[in-house]
Amino acid sequence: MNHMRKVTLFLTLAMVTMLMVGGLCFGAEKYPTKPIQVIVPYSAGGSSDLLARTVEKIWTKYSTQPMLVIDKPGAGGVQGTEYVVRAKPDGYTVLFAYGSGCDLVMPHLQKMPYDPLKDLAPVARLSIHSVVVNVSGKSPIKSMKDLIEYANKGNRITAAVSTAAGAVDIVMRAIAKRANIPITTVPFAGGADAVTALAGGHLVIGGGHPSEVLPHIKAGRFRPIGVALDRRDGTLPNVPTLKEQGINVATWGSVKGVAVPLGTPPEIIAYLESTLKKVCEDKDFKKTMAQIGQPIDYLNTKDWAAFMPKASKDYGDMIKELGIKI
């Protein structure tokens, strides 16, 4: 009797496993043979999540298998990224938004459980979310020059930033240093909160990525006065850069690229790279990206691999210069 129960147990276990495996089908077919898990280390509804879902929508046009977007937020992106670092390098676990704050900024400020530059294999860059400096639509300030004059008249300048020692905070502190005006940065609990506070006119200036502030710029609630990039942002072509206005501040903002665990076969990386390239050149994709306020800044695997260490060094230098510590 006892023996029979063991057999039943074994059989049921086997059956259940079969059920799982059934959908995945073994064989020597070419990658991909099952849906690709895309890990976004930030919360659902944010700009990284939005980018991943926009790619997901177009992806099926060029690939036989769909993408499956999974948000794993926590610890400012570290938890989700670590999950990919430790995942099996078979091409079915892919990291999106590689190049954000937790890869370029955080390593200069705290100990990381992995090396963001060495423990991941880059695939391609998709977009750069620059930092845009805004004032309230009702504000008399129209440019950076006005802002400096406003400050020199003895007014206090408060700046809404998404989080302490984040990409936006760094830009604001750099402006304060290079333009030699005092700016008090006020950190909020994320980009949306900072944007809401500026929309209410509770602060003088605020920073945000174009995707966060575009609806408010369109509504006239915000006026963009400068872009902290080394060139103009594709989504806001009429807004001059800070450098154009004589303030030598340019950062990489938040870079959104794709990476896979180290050790992923090169042919899989090549497949992902070429498919992403096709997605980036797609007409519908371009249209949606323009609507959500995210520029397309595609880089192939080789250039992207060279870009990351450089961008990280740029951030490291700036953090050292500004003396930011946590």
């Binding site: 147990l9 049921t12 259940v16 496993t17 059920l19 495996v21 995945l24 898990q37």
Partner: protein, 151 residues
């Protein structure tokens, strides 16, 4: 009952003192005009330390409550065992996958906590696991950790 309450009250006070030190020394208080990360933890620490002492004083003064009605027999080992089981389940979910770990968890619960017969245990485990899988994975598409044997 009073003894355990007294121990917890002491722990509360000591914890409060430690939090005060942590807030003051590690996090820094800042000033009343521009508070730093440690100010509110420090104040909370003060609160806990004081409340712990107050609690002890109340216990000192209060009369031992007289028991009303028959005392119910309570077993402390079952909650403890089930908590251990749940921790193991969480760990197993990640390492061996959802289906296997769920099946084993339900079997273990029925055998260890409820002391059910094997037949009933197996029926509950199989139906339970299957229903969970159908609901969460098939219908709601929750991205649970993948099965170990299918990876």
């Amino acid at each position: 009952m009073k003894k355990s309450e007294r121990i917890v009250a002491i722990i509360t006070s000591l914890g409060g003192v430690w939090i005060m030190y942590y807030g003051w020394h590690t996090l820094k208080l800042g000033s009343i005009h521009i508070p730093d990360a440690g100010l509110l933890p420090f104040l909370c620490g003060v609160g806990l330390a004081v409340l712990g002492v107050v609690w002890m004083l109340i216990l000192q003064w209060a009369k031992e409550p007289t028991h009303e009605g028959p005392v119910e027999k309570r077993l402390w080992h079952r909650p403890l065992l089930s908590l251990v089981l749940m921790v193991l389940y969480g760990w197993a979910m990640e390492s061996v996958g959802y289906i296997t770990s769920t099946l084993i968890f339900v079997i273990a619960w029925q055998k260890i906590i409820e002391r059910e017969k094997w037949l009933k245990t197996m029926i509950i485990a199989l139906i339970g696991t299957f229903a969970m899988y159908a609901l969460f994975v098939y219908l709601l598409k929750v991205p649970i950790p993948p099965e170990f044997f299918a990876r």
